[in-house]
């Protein structure tokens, strides 16, 4: 039978990437000089597993590379090698290389062969420097067996005489002489002779001991190595003697019995020499996709805690009970309203619990994303010459797997930004009376139906004056216009807005923040920044726990019902006519706490017949999208509820101002508004046809 082991590859990759995580965090935590034995052991075991698996599943280059790591780690755990910072650094680099190689193997892509070879060389260097014994390739077995067969083949093909005398305790290792005899006989023509002379008197007979000896004559064409292989497991538990009759008839002793010949049972799979690291060129993927393989990346499967599955099963059970209870109420004669009400309440509870339970299955702790940061912060702060302490809070906070995957890159950018532009050089900090080392805190928590992620630093904070100057330069803000502080800070989310005097290659050319904001928005979330010049900044991201559901406010315009995402609503208010300001030929504005926001007459934009076109008859829902605010004029506020987001684009296409649709309780469809899109649509509708205005377009 031939089994295609490729089917196990995915699991191998998943567990290998997990193993790399274990190795990396273990290495980062390792106390140089006073290493914790169990810690080294678990790092070793992770490397060992990867090596074993890669050999089994045919990834020889990876196996050979890992073997070097394993050897280093083995020596460390034995105490024969010192754990130095240099060694840890090399091992960390090796983990990076392995990650690349594994990703390449999994995706059928290329990796940077030169970079990997460089790390390979460093590993060898470490091995050579630390111990007197030169690097041992994983192949002594082959060479040993080669020499054994060489000696045997010297003699010509006379018949073998094999004396096999098991020690009394042979059975205790689960070995069976019959099996050995059977295997010998399978090698060629043979005769077996048993010697029962060793049997003790019946009274002293121990059924668990072996007293019988055998002499086997075997066809001379059989190689000595093949015979040795049969006895391999029992060498120490038996006396074995081989003799071969020479072609001329004289007896020639074979190689001495019980030689420690290390013949690998599975010889073909071993490589004879370390294979050249395949020189496939490929882009340097180190900066970009380090963690693509980690739990996240492009895997389409998920590991679920069995407890979550059990709870789901229980809830379905309760649902079945509720259903049968409601079914019993089906009596045309008499409707028991109380029972019906009770049943419906139960049904609502079951559905809600089921929904929460199912959503939880797709959720993973944010630690999967946060885990990369100790390493990143260590490497980056080192590179920048800054001292940074990383604090992580709430890493067990769970969120949807897809959201987790998509938040990964934005988080990296924000952390890099904080390190690059936020936290100052130690000297500057000292001069400002701050401790030399800066603190970067990553925190996550649940709030309402959302997850809140905060990245705070005690660095330089945002310089409002500089931001304002830049914005004026770009024509985003009028020369006389003054922005309140929070609006000022939001400027950094504007495209092309980087005030860093030197654009460092670390965090890019200011293309980052607006992309980050867009990514967050696509996930249905919001991002804002609070900062105090000189003291530090905190970036806060709020994301829905799941992509498919949002908390919505139902509103009515005319006879149409729309959903406004709660996350976009600032407030709702009754219109005060005295605050309305009409600009001739252009938009209507409403004065709200010192700022003027445009009024969006939704019925005009969407072509609906409103209940009233008079602003004071209705309400204004103040929304925020894309950093801008507006007031949507509606007829009535209806309830709030969680809605399942359905895409319009599946069967139709994207519609401006609408982010999707949902199905309400009565089976009808309601459109979900897109705050940013709506505000843009409104601006478009009121735009005078003046080309010079395009400069201001965001």
């Amino acid at each position: 039978m031939s089994i295609d082991i490729a089917q196990f590859h995915q699991v191998f990759f998943e567990e290998s990437f997990e193993g790399l995580e274990v190795m990396e965090s273990g290495l980062l935590d390792l106390e140089v000089g006073q290493p914790d034995a169990e810690a080294i052991n678990s790092i070793f075991r992770a490397a060992h597993s990867i090596k074993g698996g890669s050999g089994t599943f045919g990834f020889t280059a990876i196996g050979e590379f890992t073997h070097l790591l394993e050897t280093l780690l083995d020596e460390m755990r034995n105490g024969t090698r010192e754990v130095t910072r240099e060694a840890v650094d090399v091992l960390l680099l090796a983990v990076d290389s392995l990650r690349e190689m594994l990703s390449a193997a999994r995706d059928g892509a290329d990796f940077d062969a030169e970079a990997v070879a460089a790390v390979h060389a460093k590993l060898e260097q470490q091995l050579a420097a630390g111990s007197a014994v030169p690097v041992t390739p994983a192949v002594e077995a082959t060479t040993a067996s080669a020499s054994a067969s060489a000696s045997a083949s010297g003699a010509a093909g006379g018949e073998w005489t094999i004396a096999f005398a098991p020690h009394p305790n042979l059975f205790a290792t689960g070995n069976d002489p019959v099996r050995i005899l059977r295997e010998l006989r399978a090698l060629g023509d043979s005769r077996v002779q048993a010697d029962l002379s060793g049997l003790p008197p019946y009274a002293e007979f121990d059924p668990e001991a072996c007293y019988v000896r055998w002499t086997i004559t075997l066809d001379g064409t059989v190689e000595e190595s093949a015979i040795r292989e049969v006895f391999e497991w029992v060498e120490d538990d038996a006396d074995i003697h081989l003799e071969r009759a020479s072609a001329a008839g004289a007896e020639v002793p074979g190689s001495a019995c019980n030689d420690a010949v290390d013949e690998a049972v599975a010889a073909p799979a071993l490589t004879v020499a370390p294979p050249p690291v395949e020189r496939r060129g490929g882009e340097d993927r180190r900066s970009g996709e380090r963690r693509a393989g980690a739990a996240g990346g492009s895997t389409s499967s998920i590991r679920v805690d069995i407890g979550k599955v059990d709870s789901l099963i229980n809830l379905v059970g309760e649902l079945v009970i509720t259903q049968s209870m409601l079914g019993q109420l089906d009596d045309p004669e008499h409707v028991d309203f109380d029972k019906l009400r009770e049943g419906l309440a139960q049904l609502e509870r079951n559905t809600r619990e089921l929904q929460e339970s199912v959503m939880r299955i797709r959720m993973l702790p944010i630690s999967f994303s946060f885990n990369r940061f100790p390493r990143l912060v260590r490497d980056l702060s080192s590179k920048l010459g800054k001292e940074v302490e990383l604090k992580i809070v709430g890493e067990q906070t769970e969120l949807d797997k897809t959201v987790l995957e998509k938040i990964a890159d934005p988080l990296v950018h924000l952390v890099r930004n904080a390190l690059d532009h936020g936290i100052e050089q130690p000297d500057r900090r000292a001069a400002a009376g701050k401790p030399r080392h800066g603190t970067l805190t990553l925190a996550a928590r649940h709030e309402g139906g959302n997850i809140v992620i905060e990245i705070s630093d005690d660095g330089a904070g945002l310089d409002c004056d500089r931001l304002l100057a830049k914005a004026r330069e770009r024509g985003l803000v009028g020369a006389d216009e003054h922005l309140p502080e929070d609006r000022n800070h939001e400027l950094i989310f504007h495209p092309g807005f980087s005030t860093a005097k030197e654009i460092s290659d670390v965090s890019g050319r200011g293309v980052g923040m607006d992309v980050v904001k867009r990514n967050i928005k696509e996930l249905g979330g919001v991002i804002d920044i609070q900062s105090k010049f000189g003291a530090g900044s905190t970036i806060r991201i709020r994301l829905p726990l799941t992509l498919a559901i949002l908390d919505g406010q139902l509103v009515r315009v005319g006879d149409q019902t729309y959903i406004v995402p709660l996350v976009s609503i600032i407030e709702s208010l009754q219109v005060d006519p005295s605050r309305i300001k009409s600009v001739v030929g252009a938009a209507e504005l409403y004065r709200l706490r010192g700022e003027y926001i445009p009024i969006v007459r939704l019925y005009k934009l969407f072509g609906i017949e409103p209940e009233s076109s008079s602003l004071e008859d209705g309400l204004l829902v103040v929304i925020e999208g894309e950093g801008q605010r507006a007031g949507i004029f509606i007829d009535e506020l209806l309830g709030q509820q969680q809605v399942v987001i359905k895409s319009l684009e599946t069967n139709y296409r994207k519609v401006d101002g609408i982010s999707g649709a949902t199905i309400l309780g009565d089976g009808t469809v309601a459109m979900i508004m897109d705050a940013g899109g709506l505000i843009a649509l409104n601006r478009q509708a009121h735009k005078p046809a003046n080309p010079s205005d395009n400069v201001k377009a965001a």
């Binding site: 039978m1 031939s2 089994i3 082991i5 089917q7 196990f8 590859h9 699991v11 191998f12 998943e14 567990e15 678990s42 070793f44 075991r45 060992h48 597993s49 090596k51 074993g52 698996g53 050999g55 089994t56 599943f57 045919g58 196996g63 994983a138 192949v139 002594e140 077995a141 059975f171 205790a172 290792t173 689960g174 070995n175 069976d176 019959v178 099996r179 059977r182 295997e183 668990e208 391999e232 497991w233 120490d236 538990d237 420690a260 290390d262 690998a264 049972v265 599975a266 799979a269």
Partner: protein, 120 residues
Amino acid sequence: MANVLAVDDSASMRQMVSFTLKGAGYDVTEAVDGQDALDKARAGKVDVVLTDVNMPNMDGIELIRQLRGLPQYKFTPMLLLTTESGTDKKAEGKAAGATGWLVKPFNPDQLLATLAKVLG
């Protein structure tokens, strides 16, 4: 059909071994480490033990040592799955009572051949 206890902390290895053996008609019990294997071996008799060496919560060698102490497993074939090419693990394994070993990497056919040998 014979019942095999397959012990390895690596899920991919366990899967591969399990799939191979089941395909050949064996019954397979999987365990993720030495302690798990010991518990399962105590709960129900197995005919053969296939175990990795390096595992958390009791390694393969200690597992074999413990199993040999149980009367029902005195003579049961127990094989170590090892990547070590050095002799010390094998010697240590034998001293603990291992029947023999299978060196990783091995392919499914080699696994089946070895098992067939051992179970007769």
